[in-house]
C-alpha cells in the first residue's frame, strides 16, 4: 500500500509543479516526476508479496513466487516514452530561450494563453 501512496504523492507533486511554477525547466521537471510516479504505480501493481524477479536462471525458484512481468514490460516502454518526451521538451525550451530570452512562462505569451 505504501507504494501506491508514494507513487500518487509523486504524481500529485509533479502536477502541482507543472501547474504552479513559472519556470519552464521546473515545469518539465514536474512532468518527469509525474512520469516517475506513474511508472512506480505500474510496477507496484505487479508486485507480489515476497516475490522475486521473473527470471528462471536458478531452477530452485518456483514460478509462483515471481512477480508479474507485464507491468515491468509496460514500464520499460513508458520510461523510453518519458525519455523521448523530456528530450524533445528540453530542446524546445532551448529554442524558447533563444527566441524570448527568458524561461518564465508568464512572459512567453505572444500568442494568447
Amino acid at each position: 500500500m505504501i507504494f501506491y501512496i508514494g507513487s500518487f504523492a509523486l504524481v500529485l507533486t509533479g502536477l502541482y509543479i507543472a501547474a504552479a511554477k513559472k519556470n519552464l525547466i521546473k515545469i518539465i521537471m514536474g512532468l518527469s516526476l509525474v512520469d516517475t510516479g506513474v511508472n512506480l504505480f505500474l510496477i507496484s501493481i505487479g508486485y507480489i508479496k515476497g516475490g522475486t524477479a521473473p527470471i528462471f536462471s536458478n531452477a530452485a525458484i518456483p514460478g509462483k513466487t515471481m512477480v508479474d512481468p507485464v507491468p515491468q514490460a509496460m514500464v520499460l516502454t513508458a520510461i523510453v516514452i518519458g525519455l523521448a518526451v523530456t528530450a524533445l521538451a528540453l530542446s524546445l525550451v532551448i529554442k524558447a530561450y533563444y527566441h524570448y530570452g527568458t524561461l518564465n512562462v508568464r512572459k512567453i505569451k505572444e500568442l494568447k494563453w
Binding site: 500500500m1 507504494f3 501506491y4 500518487f8 504524481v11 500529485l12 502536477l15 502541482y16 501547474a19 504552479a20 507496484s44 501493481i45 505487479g46 508486485y47 507480489i48 508479496k49 524477479a53 521473473p54 527470471i55 528462471f56 536462471s57 514460478g63 509462483k64 515471481m66 508479474d68 512481468p69 507485464v70 515491468q72 514490460a73 509496460m74 520499460l76 516502454t77 520510461i79 523510453v80 516514452i81 525519455l83 523521448a84 518526451v85 528530450a87 524533445l88 528540453l90 530542446s91 524546445l92 532551448i94 529554442k95
Partner: protein, 227 residues
C-alpha cells in the same frame, strides 16, 4: 490564486485516485495474463528472463512502437535544434591528465559492460534499452572528459536507421515464415544458453546498438552550439 485552484483540483484528484486504488488488491497473485507468461514463458519462447520474453515476444509490437518513439524523439530533437549553420567550435580547455586518463581507461570497460547487458538480455536482468543506455553513458564520458572528441553524426544516424530497418525486417520475415508478424522463427535452443530464444538476442543486440547511437546523437545535438 493559481496555486489555490491547482491545490483544490489536485485534492479532488487525490480523492479519486484513493477511491480507485482501494479496490486494487496489493501484493497478491492475481493476473491471468502474467501467470500464463510465468508458467508458459520458457516453453513458448526459450528465454529464461520472462520480462524479456514479454517485451520482445508476447508484446513485441509494443517494443517496435517504443523503438519508433525513441527514433521519433531523436529526429524531433534534431529538427527542433536545426539551424542550418555550421557548428561553431567552442573554446575548450583540456581536461586534467587524471580526468582524461580515467575516461580513456573506463571507456572500453563501460562499453563492454553495456554490450554484456544487451547480449545477455534473455538470460539476466537487462536488455537492449538498458545496455544501450550504458554504452551511451560511455560516450557521454568521452564528451565530457576528452573535449574535442565527438561522435560522427552521419554514422549514428545510419546506425539508428539500420536498427529500425532490421527490426521491421525481422518482423516481416516472421510473417513470411510463420504467418505472424514478429513470429519467433529461429530455433529456440537450450534454455539458459547464450544461443537460445530464437530472435530475442538478435533483436536485443540490434536495439542495443540503436539505443546507444540514438542517445549519443541526442547528446551530440544538445552539446552542439551554433551562433
Amino acid at each position: 490564486m493559481r496555486k489555490l485552484v491547482s491545490i483544490i483540483l489536485l485534492g479532488a484528484l487525490a480523492f479519486g485516485l484513493v477511491q480507485a486504488v482501494k479496490k486494487i488488491p496489493f501484493g497478491v497473485q492475481k493476473t491471468k495474463v502474467g501467470k500464463y507468461y510465468v508458467e508458459r514463458g520458457i516453453e513458448d519462447t526459450g528465454s529464461s528472463n520472462i520480462v524479456t520474453s514479454v517485451v520482445l515476444n508476447y508484446r513485441g509490437f509494443d517494443t517496435l512502437g517504443e523503438v519508433t518513439i525513441l527514433f521519433a524523439g531523436a529526429i524531433a530533437l534534431g529538427a527542433v535544434l536545426f539551424t542550418g549553420k555550421k557548428r561553431i567550435e567552442r573554446e575548450v580547455y583540456p581536461a586534467s591528465p587524471i580526468l582524461s586518463t580515467a575516461c580513456k581507461f573506463l571507456f572500453p570497460l563501460i562499453l563492454l559492460f553495456g554490450a554484456y547487458i544487451f547480449i545477455h538480455g534473455h538470460l539476466t536482468p537487462g536488455g537492449g534499452f538498458q545496455g544501450g543506455a550504458i554504452a551511451a553513458s560511455a560516450l557521454l564520458l568521452i564528451f565530457l572528459g576528452c573535449p574535442g572528441r565527438k561522435t560522427d553524426g552521419r554514422k549514428t544516424r545510419l546506425m539508428e536507421s539500420l536498427g529500425g530497418i532490421i527490426f521491421v525486417l525481422a518482423g516481416l520475415l516472421g510473417l513470411a515464415y510463420g504467418g505472424f508478424f514478429l513470429f519467433n522463427f529461429l530455433p529456440k535452443g537450450t534454455v539458459n544458453n547464450l544461443f537460445s530464444a530464437g530472435i530475442i538476442p538478435v533483436l536485443y543486440i540490434v536495439i542495443g546498438f540503436k539505443v546507444a547511437s540514438e542517445i549519443a546523437g541526442i547528446l551530440d545535438n544538445l552539446f552542439g552550439e551554433t551562433e
